[in-house]
Amino acid sequence: MSAMLLTQQVLNGLLDGVYYLLIALGLSLIFSLGGIVNLAHGAFYAIGAYLTLVLSPYVGFGGSFVAAPVAVALLGMVIERTLFRRFYRADPILSLLMTFGLAMVAEQLLRMIFGAAPLSYSIPPWLRGQVALGSFIYSFYRVVLIGIAATCIAGLWLLLNKTAFGRVVRAGVQNPDMVGALGISLQPYMSAVAALGIGLAGLAGVLLAPIYSIHPAMGQEIITPAFVVVVIGGLGSFWGVVAAALLVGLVKGVMVGIGYSAASTAAIYLLMLLVLLFRPRGLFGERITRFE
């Protein structure tokens, strides 16, 4: 294989990782703040994709790009108020069971409303075509997709690290009781974080609907690799999750590139095993007292 193709595979792998990132960041945020392992996160991604399908005939892809994530975020807020809230102080196994059930209910609802058969949706004409970055020819849609994802990630980082809102959330991750003792109620922050994380999953659904098959079980497909990214990256670490997503994409892409495609999925789990052996808290995992 030529060095050129290898370079392309490395680049493509890194870019591929970005798609997991939108899902993984939300998962990590919700877990860090509330201790909820949200197995239903993939379902919100699927709902985002189906909403794109439903809304596009009326508002176009551009309109869905705004409306669908907002709708999914609002749904996330409702779920947080009615379900998540009851499990913050409970044994994590209970919230795990609850979100597992929620994922199944959501998937079955999609199946009942839209049918089990996959539905068709294409890239809007104005986003089609190829771009040449030197001799690297790449899909224009994916370049746009990565631009949007990078903007979201940068925005989220600024929100968490440069605003008063972010300070409270970060303090809440480390010590919720202390935040309470200082007279700050964490409840509205919890809702906001759930809406944000779940909204990002909805956004991923919108962005991937034109290039992936839209079917009721699509959430299940993405949730496992997203979890692997969170585990490799380390809990509570923003950049850990970012690095892990890129690493997972890279490993997968290079395995395909060098002709071991059959092992490309297995390689990700092997990577997780190795990381956990040497760094049990993940790559950049922080010590969070209440989870120790």
């Binding site: 030529s2 409970a90 058969a117 068709s120 294409s122 290039i211 098959s213 059959a262």
Partner: protein, 417 residues
């Protein structure tokens, strides 16, 4: 770390809840074994990556049973259908066992996964009950794993390869040409790859590349970059389920223009890829545009009931049920050994095509016509369903139906006694 404790009250609530839930399912166990109905068991994957196809299977068998009952049932008895999600090979076998031993079904119809077909066939053989496979393609099921009590309405991989292979030969895409293949990394894909390599070697082509794709892969960008570099004369798809849709959407996204063809295919996946994304030439066991009275009636009834046309998996389960009903009514017996003897003698059945079909005695494969469909260019597509043009039936009118099936040398079956 947990601060919640079980109180006596919550324990009672939980116990009560469990009792209530198990009470709901109890009537199934007490279901009366009445003598005036004939039961048929239907097992097919309804969730997972084959679930979308399973849904068509279920819709079709519901329609078939409705029609059979409307025209007098089987031997004057009403047909009752028991339907379950087969999930995976282990669950499929457990459910088949329960349907046969507890519910006393006459036969089991269904399946899409070749792996589940194998476990159901083992139960069928042990209990001497007929099983008709409507969706498992692997040649091994008609070869080293064949069973006397298993019949196949679905075509075997060899039939798919030889059908579409004729189109590739006609278009000059085989002799001296380079193929790049992507293969689903499980039993079905491996079997199909073996058969397609045999076809390629026999006709003087070779492989420029050959990648196995994990079944949970959704992103094909890394493979597309390799294909672009390899510049093949034909991209050959041995993928399955949603993989095919994902591949087609991304192939269009990356703007690749090498001819595409596949050896395994389902119409629903092309519909999901949609106009403009669906390209290439593919083999099908049946499609909704076949110009015969039988197909027109089936498509009409199905569309009226479900507001969309049936896809090829629907044909499989529909026709299998109709074949059983016809056999039982002709024999005036619903005993599996008698039905099997009837099939083995070469009884002919209307399979909604120009010629009648029959089961080949040597491996229990249904001998029938197949088709190669080619995607229409976007400007010739009138609606979301009619997105391809079909070849005439393969084999042609003057050929033996068996010419596309695997020969004894390619795949031999010895029924275990």
């Amino acid at each position: 770390m947990s601060n919640n404790q079980f109180t006596r009250r919550s324990l009672l609530k939980t116990a009560g809840g469990i009792a209530l839930v198990s009470g709901i399912s109890a009537p199934a166990i007490l279901r009366a074994q009445s003598a005036d109905v004939i039961r048929i068991g239907h097992l097919t994957p309804r969730t997972g990556f084959l679930g979308p196809l399973g849904e068509y299977a279920v819709m079709a068998i519901d329609l078939a049973v409705e029609e059979i009952n409307a025209s007098g049932g089987m031997m004057g008895k009403k047909v009752e259908l028991l339907k379950e999600d087969s999930v995976n090979p282990q669950t499929a076998s457990t459910k088949a066992e329960r349907m046969i031993e507890r519910d006393k079904v006459t036969c089991i119809i269904g399946e899409i996964s070749s792996a589940s077909c194998l476990t159901i066939a083992q139960v069928a053989s042990r209990t001497k009950t007929l099983f008709i496979n409507t969706g498992g393609n692997s040649d091994a099921l008609r070869g080293k794993d064949c069973q006397r009590y298993m019949f196949h309405v679905e075509s075997q991989n060899s039939m798919y390869v030889k059908t579409v292979g004729r189109s590739f030969l006609r278009d000059g895409l085989v002799k001296g040409k380079k193929w790049y293949s992507l293969t689903a990394d499980y039993a079905f894909g491996h079997d199909l790859l073996k058969v397609s390599k045999r076809f390629m070697e026999a006709n003087g082509g070779n492989f420029a590349g050959d990648d196995l794709v994990p079944t949970d892969a959704t992103d094909f960008s890394a493979y597309l970059l390799k294909i672009r570099e390899a510049k093949p004369d034909l991209v050959v798809i041995n993928l399955a389920g949603n993989q095919i849709t994902n591949f087609l959407k991304q192939y269009a996204e990356f703007g690749l223009t090498f001819p595409v063809g596949g050896f395994g295919f389902d119409t629903a996946l092309a519909w999901a890829a949609g106009k403009g994304n669906f390209v290439g030439t593919w083999p099908v066991v049946w499609h909704h545009l076949i110009d015969t009275p039988g197909t027109k009636a089936f498509v009409g009834a199905f569309t009226k009931k479900y507001n969309k046309p049936p896809e090829n998996q629907a044909w499989g389960d529909y026709i299998a049920t109709k074949i059983v009903a016809q056999a039982v009514n002709e024999l005036k017996s619903a005993e599996s050994p008698k039905i099997i003897e009837h099939f083995e003698k070469g009884a002919k059945f209307d399979v909604l095509k120009t010629r009648q079909g029959y089961f080949r005695g040597s491996d229990h494969q249904l001998m029938h016509e197949m088709y190669a469909v080619t995607a229409l260019p976007a400007d010739k597509i009138k609606n979301q369903w009619d997105i391809f043009a079909s070849s005439p039936p393969v084999p042609g009118p003057n050929e033996d139906l068996e010419v596309i099936a695997a020969t004894k040398e390619e795949n031999s079956c010895v029924f275990p006694s």
